[in-house]
């Protein structure tokens, strides 16, 4: 091996502690990048393969009732490859051992042969057999939640008739990866499940012989779904269609894609932070190394090495340091990517998993980190390369110091000399000090950003479930019903209050902007489901006009006083210009409210409702559940307490993993920064510290000088970190902003404190490591060498 390369290896070995500390930071960046990109890719590939294999449809529509002969006409729409006409209904189920009413989402499947689209993946048992109308296939998560297996039976209230269904198979479907019941925020497999029944059985039960109420379309390659939707909507309008949607708006797919999208956010923000810090650290280490190597650089040049060779020598050193980090990051990232993907796959219950991280992902990680490290060390390398040999062989001039304003001041008079040393050292290299503080700040910030989710979610739960909703449960009805039904609810056991709610599908149009949603009709001064502004105000519902959520208002570009064109998508499909009379902020969805009587007038209907909010006496829940189970035409029973629990559980599952990752990375960052800066300070100032020891200073006293400086920089870094963390939190929550939900930026003082404590812990460990070295300072050797 060439002598110069040997020197390189020995330098690396000598600097191993610092090389490792930098490598850990680079590795963290590369790992997050590889993890998120590979998981993102794996989820995308897996979902695509799953969709492809099971022929997941690309356009979805539902109607009230349409004749099956229409299928032929639909299949002639240009771009349509296949059509699947189905029947979908809701049924209230009674399952042994589970008191609460369960909502079954019934979906028809052909009794012979496989469906053309949205095919099932059989996990056990078989599909339904022809002529056996009581055979049912259950979705796996639902079956598992209730421990139902082929052969087991349960009751279903179908169109007013109590039926006993027999489980014959357990299956998964690409259509219900994320199975969310009406009115719910998160999947609740105990209370909502997908059940597949034979087409004929469903048609018979719901009087839909020769008809369908749900449609799925498969499209030819390169077909624009919007064009198909336009034609389809025109065709289905008179059959009670509320408008078709493309796959991207299908609820299960939307959630899945949203999850994948979030990984993308992670792959940009975090690696940037880590690699910026890595750049700074490699700059720090290299400039120190070049300072110690000064005379050797002079010697190399005196021997005839060119500037380029000297520069290349140190460049190789940086590349070697980065390579250690990249390698570690690759391994860690591939492993975390796999773990992460498996967690997601389990969460989504993918029947297959494609984890084939692309070499490109690893290459991106490597290139980005190499560039960061090289950019960080550019200045030092150039300095080494251009150092004139004669000058290099002279000892460097003693560092210049200035009196700071503080030491000249009256207060400065009382400073002891060790403190003076600390302050002058900081003011001598203010940029380095600032970057060190910033590095520590970023460690705190990453931690704040991770922990902030807990606070934000708590806030969402508080506002959405507790402040806005006063009801114990919401019962959704399959069809619009006269509000006389309200009295029926009020008479039910344990019901303390019942309030009606309407929900009418509609398009909102303002100029060229549009939104497909619903108008919710509420009482003018509801006691249960209130129109609650996240700022803490309960809105009064005026007799006329729309109350928009701020998100909907901004999507349509309207404010209070503006008029919106409303085109109702059901019943007589009225179209009307209606003013926006008030706005409120909410974290969930893009709701629009209206006085229930105004909505009835708009629909030209007698007082009607689609849902009932109930306040109930908890002691009489059992009897109420019994009563609800016997109620026909119920599409949803959302129990608030259960919904809160499910929401928290789902969040805890995903968020805790995320927070653990980030806490580890934040610690790596804090450790790396403090270790490197104190190690370098030690190597630069070992002589000074040894002198102090000779002069009779105790170990603790000299530790004060070295670690006191670090402590001061940490002290500056901590509040700065909270500040930056709030900024990062804002960036992350803004990036998550979608029509479905918004994450409020809420950071409790306790969160800042936790982040600060975690970082303090990590920095304390690295300080302790350096302190150990300080205790073994070789006094004599240091004093014997020339400055």
């Amino acid at each position: 091996m060439r002598a110069l390369n040997l020197k390189l290896l020995r330098n690396l070995w000598k600097l191993r502690g610092q090389v490792l500390a930098i490598a850990v930071v680079i590795a963290s960046g590369v790992a997050v990048l590889v993890m998120s990109l590979s998981a993102q890719q794996a989820l995308q590939d897996t979902a695509a393969a799953y969709y492809e294999r099971q022929r997941f449809a690309e356009v979805f529509s539902n109607v009230k009732r349409a004749p099956l002969r229409l299928v032929e006409r639909i299949s002639t729409i240009p771009g349509v490859r296949s059509v699947e006409a189905r029947i979908k209904q809701f049924a209230t189920l009674s399952i042994e051992g589970f008191e609460e009413p369960v909502i079954g989402h019934l979906v028809s499947i052909p009794e012979q042969g496989e469906p053309r689209l949205n095919r099932l993946v059989m996990r056990s048992g078989r599909l339904v057999a022809p002529g056996h109308p009581d055979e049912a296939v259950l979705s796996e998560p639902f079956a598992e939640a209730h421990d139902l297996q082929p052969g087991d039976q349960f009751q279903a209230l179908m169109n007013g008739n109590q039926r006993t269904l027999t489980v014959v198979g357990i299956a998964l479907s690409p259509e219900f990866i994320y199975a969310i019941g009406p009115g719910a925020l998160t999947p609740d497999d105990m209370r909502y499940g997908i059940i597949w029944l034979g087409q004929e059985a469903m048609a018979a039960a719901y009087d839909l012989d020769g008809a369908f109420n749900d449609l799925s379309l498969g499209l030819l390659h390169d077909t624009n779904p919007e064009q198909v939707i336009e034609r389809l909507d025109r065709l289905l309008e008179r059959y009670g269609s509320q408008g078709a949607i493309a796959r991207k708006d299908q609820i299960s797919n939307w959630f899945l894609m949203n999850e994948i999208e979030q990984l993308k956010n992670m792959s940009t923000i975090l690696p940037t932070i880590f690699l910026a810090v890595a750049a700074f650290l490699s700059n720090m280490v290299l400039s120190r190394l070049i300072a110690t190597d000064r005379s050797e650089i002079g010697l190399m040049k005196a021997f005839g090495y060119s500037n380029w060779q000297v520069g290349w020598h140190y460049t190789k050193l940086v590349m070697a340091m980065a390579s250690v980090g990249i390698l570690l990051g690759w391994l860690l990232g591939a492993w975390l990517g796999r773990v992460n993907t498996e967690l997601y796959a389990e969460f989504f219950r993918f029947p297959l998993l494609i984890f084939r991280p692309d070499a490109g992902v690893f290459a991106i990680g490597a290139i980005v980190s190499l560039i960061a490290a090289l950019a960080g060390s550019l200045g030092s390398v150039r300095h080494a390369a251009t150092l004139p040999p004669a000058e290099a062989m002279l000892p460097p001039a003693p560092p210049m110091f200035r009196k700071t304003a503080l030491s000249k001041s009256r207060a400065g008079h009382w400073l002891d000399q060790p403190t003076r040393i600390i302050l002058r050292q900081i003011f001598r290299s203010p940029i380095r000090a600032l970057l060190t503080s910033l590095g520590i700040a970023l460690s705190v910030a990453v931690m704040v950003m991770a922990l902030q989710w807990i606070d934000s979610i708590e806030k969402i739960v508080q506002v959405y479930f507790h402040d806005a909703q006063r009801q114990s449960m919401t019962v959704g009805l399959v069809e619009t019903q006269s509000d006389t039904v309200l009295n029926e609810f009020r008479r039910m056991p344990g019901v303390l209050a019942a309030e009606p709610m309407r929900a009418v599908s509609a398009d909102f149009l303002v100029g060229h902007r549009s939104h497909r949603g619903a108008i919710e009709g509420v009482l003018p001064n509801p006691h249960l489901q209130r129109v609650y502004d996240a700022g803490g105000e309960v809105l009064q519902v005026p007799p006329d006009g729309l109350i928009f959520s701020t998100r909907l208002a901004s999507k349509l570009g309207v404010g209070i006083g503006d008029t919106v064109r409303v085109e109702v998508l059901q019943d007589r499909r009225p179209k009307r210009e209606i003013p926006v009379v008030d706005l409120f902020e909410t974290y969930m969805g893009t709701p629009a409210y209206m006085h229930i009587q105004a909505l009835n007038r708009l629909m030209d209907q007698r007082p009607s409702l689609e849902a009932v909010n109930l306040l109930v006496d908890k002691h009489q829940l059992s009897s109420l559940y019994q009563r609800l189970k016997s109620l026909p035409k119920v599409s949803a029973v959302v129990l608030k307490d259960a919904a809160v629990k499910e929401f928290n559980d789902t969040m805890a599952e995903t968020i805790m993993i995320y927070i653990t990752f980030f806490a580890a990375f934040a610690c790596a960052l804090g450790f790396g920064v403090v270790y490197n800066s104190t190690r370098i300070a030690l190597s630069e100032r070992g002589r000074e510290l040894a002198t102090l020891r000779v002069l009779g200073f105790h170990r603790g006293e000299i530790s004060y000088i070295l670690l006191g400086e670090a402590a001061l920089l940490i002290l500056v870094g901590l509040p700065l970190g909270c500040f930056v963390g709030h900024g990062l939190g804002w960036v992350m929550t803004s990036a998550m902003d979608s029509e479905l939900y918004r994450i409020p930026l809420v950071i409790k003082a306790a969160t800042d404190a936790t982040a600060v404590l975690v970082t303090l812990g990590a920095t304390a460990i690295s300080a302790a490591v350096v302190r150990r070295r300080l205790d073994h300072l070789d006094l004599i050797a240091v004093l014997k060498t020339r400055e």
């Binding site: 560092p399 210049m400 110091f401 200035r402 003076r420 002589r687 000074e688 009779g696 400055e787």
Partner: protein, 246 residues
């Protein structure tokens, strides 16, 4: 005129610092280096001793052991009634802090502190120090109190180091090649400072050098070779430092 030791007991009775049968062996790889091979040495109160010898003869090792920077492999060092070799790290620190002043070939000033502050560094932790300005004027630097090391010449820096060493009124001043890095003119200024401290404060002083001329300013000269004191010569009179030349 030179007289062989022992020194005259009538004029110098009190032993300040004594080393007995000191040995020091460094284990470097497969070889054992015997830096000290049984040295007996006594420094009497107020005397100025010069240790002469070629490099590698063990004189720095001896000085480091006497000053509590290093511990002997065997033998003992006692400062007045204190057995320096019996203590731990903390006792050695205490010993250096309260009783010993060091001056090195390389000045080892703290670059971030001014001359005055470098001296204050020591006076702040000393029991009965003089004012930093007083120590600095003793070495002729009363005018350059607020200069940083980078703004001082080599000789000036070394004199700051001496001021720093003597400001706490140490009982012993140990100087390891104090003029090694200086030209003769500057070197003499530094030696004058040491001489003055020894005379005016009565500090027991030991100076290591390989410059034989410097021996003339001493009460006693110890010749060192191969880890041992070869001989000890007392000067009947000390030559003032300003009259030295090399």
């Amino acid at each position: 005129m030179k007289v062989l030791s022992p020194p005259n007991p009538a004029t110098q009775q009190t032993i300040t610092l004594r080393g007995r049968s000191l040995t020091k062996t460094y284990h470097t790889g497969a070889v054992d280096v015997h830096a000290l091979r049984g040295v007996d040495i006594s420094l009497y109160e107020g005397e100025l001793v010069v240790l002469l010898g070629p490099s590698g003869s063990g004189k720095s090792t001896l000085l480091n052991i006497l000053g509590g920077l290093d511990t002997p492999s065997s033998g003992e060092v006692s400062f007045r009634d204190l057995d320096v070799t019996s203590g731990d790290e903390s006792l050695l620190t205490r010993y250096r802090r309260d009783h010993v002043g060091f001056v090195f070939q390389f000045y080892n000033l703290i670059p971030s502190l001014t001359a005055r502050e470098n001296v204050a560094l020591v006076t702040e932790i000393a029991i009965d120090p003089m004012a930093p300005a007083e120590a600095l004027s003793l070495v002729g630097l009363g005018e350059r109190l607020d200069h940083f090391p980078a703004q001082l010449s080599g000789g000036e820096q070394q004199r700051v180091a001496i001021a720093r060493a003597i400001a706490k009124r140490p009982d012993i001043l140990l100087c390891d090649e104090p003029t090694g890095a200086l030209d003769s003119h500057t070197g003499i200024l530094v030696l004058e400072a040491i001489e003055r401290v020894n005379r005016e404060l009565g500090t027991t002083t030991a100076v290591i050098t390989h410059n034989t001329v410097i021996g003339n300013m001493a009460d006693r000269v110890l010749h060192f070779g191969d880890g041992q004191v070869i001989n000890s010569v007392s000067n009947t009179s000390r030559q003032p430092a300003r009259e030295l030349s090399w």
